[in-house]
């Protein structure tokens, strides 16, 4: 086995087995902190041993067994003088051990615990990325532009709260599931968006690991709740967005807008799956929620051969529907972008300008204005708006795109 094979084996095992190892240890020991640390130690042991011993035939079982031993060692060390407590801890979960086929259930349990409503939204996102997706604390800190120590504290505090307040480690009952799932979807959408438009000067513009993980977890939720429209909607939205990922950033690292993308480079399989989900929801005949409407908008875009063939009246109609559900200024901004194609940039600009007091600190507001002003031939004002957008944008590909556009102004 070559060094490259072993490295590949470890990477793959980390991707496929991390959450399973953390989940099964959490169940056994009733303690996320013990589970996380033992899982990390097991992977470190794999990095040490596999190059010499080779990748074991069942990496998941090897890692789980190794992590179990590490966890028991730690508990023994900590409870040398308090054996009763150790027994209590080991017996906290008295369900029989899960068969290997229930790995997905383990992962789901972990997701619902990390996305518990008693935790702050930013904490849920961080915890999900650490415990379920297996990102390191420095990676998560970088993705959300906070100090490593701050992120470390946030995760530590969350684990302590889960333990002290006894946030249960289970998938909620059927009666609570819809409300709890909607909280999970919000977290997964944030993870996806961070991957799709990563922030930070030293970050790749698109973080495929985050978008892929968000899609994988949304698929799990869908398997749990196949009838739920918003779960299907979010999955469709992610797939239709992910399908355009490679066409969205040029070879030189610049953002490529929808109208300029090479539609031949879109992923046809992902689009087909996304469209299938959107059709399934339309056929259900139930009033759609926001993810389903966003997915439908994406479906209109991905159905068009080119930007001119896009059914803009349909897009605007869907945005109208969305505004009724969610009157946020960001939705209104996106609606205005579609209005520009339908009724012209003048009408759109008037709508955008009305949002100034609420979106003055948002780069996309200025980028949209800049583009509309450019199309109206008002170069000077457009330049000022590009300047402001560049100042506020956090994504490297977006900054590169905006800078070129500004510099091309006459």
């Amino acid at each position: 086995m070559s060094v490259a094979d072993v490295r590949e084996g470890i990477t793959q095992a980390h991707h496929e087995e991390w959450a399973r190892v953390v989940a099964s240890l959490t169940r056994r020991f009733g303690d996320l902190d013990v589970a996380e640390e033992a899982a990390a130690e097991a992977f470190a042991t794999a990095v040490e041993r596999w190059p010499a011993d080779g990748v074991p035939p069942n990496p998941g079982a090897w890692l789980t067994t190794t992590a179990n031993r590490k966890a028991i060692d730690r508990i023994r060390r900590e409870n040398k003088h308090d054996n009763k407590r150790k027994e209590a801890q080991l017996l906290y979960d008295d369900d029989p051990p899960e068969p290997p086929s229930a790995i997905d259930d383990e992962r789901l349990r972990l997701i619902f615990t990390c996305c518990h409503p008693a935790l702050a939204m930013e904490t849920r996102v961080a915890l999900t990325l650490r415990m379920v997706a297996g990102l390191t604390v420095p990676e998560i800190a970088r993705a959300f532009l906070v100090q490593e120590t701050t992120m470390g504290r946030r995760i530590t505090r969350a684990k302590a709260k889960i333990k002290a307040a006894r946030i249960p480690y289970r998938v909620p009952s059927a009666e609570d599931l819809p409300a709890r799932a909607s909280g999970v979807l919000a977290v997964l959408f944030l993870v996806f968006n961070e991957g799709y438009l990563a922030t930070g000067p030293d970050t790749d513009p698109v973080r495929h690991d985050l978008t892929a993980e968000a899609i994988r977890l949304t698929r799990l939720i869908r398997a749990l709740m196949p009838q739920d429209g918003e779960v299907a909607g979010l999955l469709a939205l992610m797939l239709l967005t992910e399908a355009r990922r490679t066409a969205r950033v040029s070879a030189s690292g610049e953002l490529v807008t929808l109208d300029e993308q090479d539609r031949g480079a879109w992923d046809a399989a992902l689009i087909a799956e996304g469209h299938r989900l959107v059709r399934e929801r339309l056929a259900a005949g139930v009033a759609p929620g926001r993810y389903q409407i966003l997915a439908a908008i994406s479906a209109v875009h991905t159905s068009a051969r080119d930007v001119r063939a896009t059914d803009w009246s349909q897009v605007v109609a869907l945005y109208d529907q969305l505004v009724r559900l969610d009157p946020s200024p960001i939705i209104a901004l996106n609606r205005a972008i579609a209005v520009a194609e339908l009724d012209g940039p003048e009408v759109a600009l008037a709508a955008v300008d009305r949002l100034e007091h609420r979106l003055a600190g948002y780069h996309a507001y200025h980028a949209t204005r800049a583009d509309l002003l450019r199309r109206l031939g008002r170069s000077q004002k457009s330049r000022a708006a590009y300047d402001k957008a560049i100042e506020l944008a956090g994504n490297t590909a977006e900054t590169a795109y905006l800078t070129r556009r500004r510099d091309q102004l006459g």
Binding site: H116, A118, A164, A165, R166, I167, P168, P172, D176
Partner: protein, 107 residues
């Protein structure tokens, strides 16, 4: 597992008769379902006295240890198997007493 369920108030008023009646119904349910440990309403914060006897002699200070707009108006101690159950009970308690509530686990 026991949880301290605190009633947070920012008005001077005590529970109205309707609120008191709703609290009584809720308390009966807590007892019937085995969640009840203890509960009580408190007099106004201005009736509190703070005592510090860490030094040579006990010091008595008139008033609450913390002056704030929001204060503890009463509490339940509930028995619940986990936070999900405690939060559900607390949500109903908040409805019954018509006030904001904080749930905090005992160690």
């Amino acid at each position: 597992m026991q949880y301290l369920v605190s009633v947070i108030d920012d008005t001077a008023g005590l529970a109205t008769p309707d609120e008191q009646a709703a609290i009584d119904v809720f308390n009966d349910r807590l007892k019937a379902e085995g969640h009840w440990v203890f509960a009580g309403g408190l007099a106004a914060p201005s009736s509190a006295t703070v005592i510090d006897n860490r030094g040579e002699e006990a010091m008595f200070t008139d008033g609450p240890f913390l002056e704030s707009k929001e204060y503890l108006a009463g509490f339940w101690i509930m028995d619940a198997p986990d936070l999900d159950v405690a939060l559900k009970l607390a949500a109903e308690g908040s409805k019954a007493c018509n006030r904001k509530i904080e749930v905090r686990p005992f160690r």
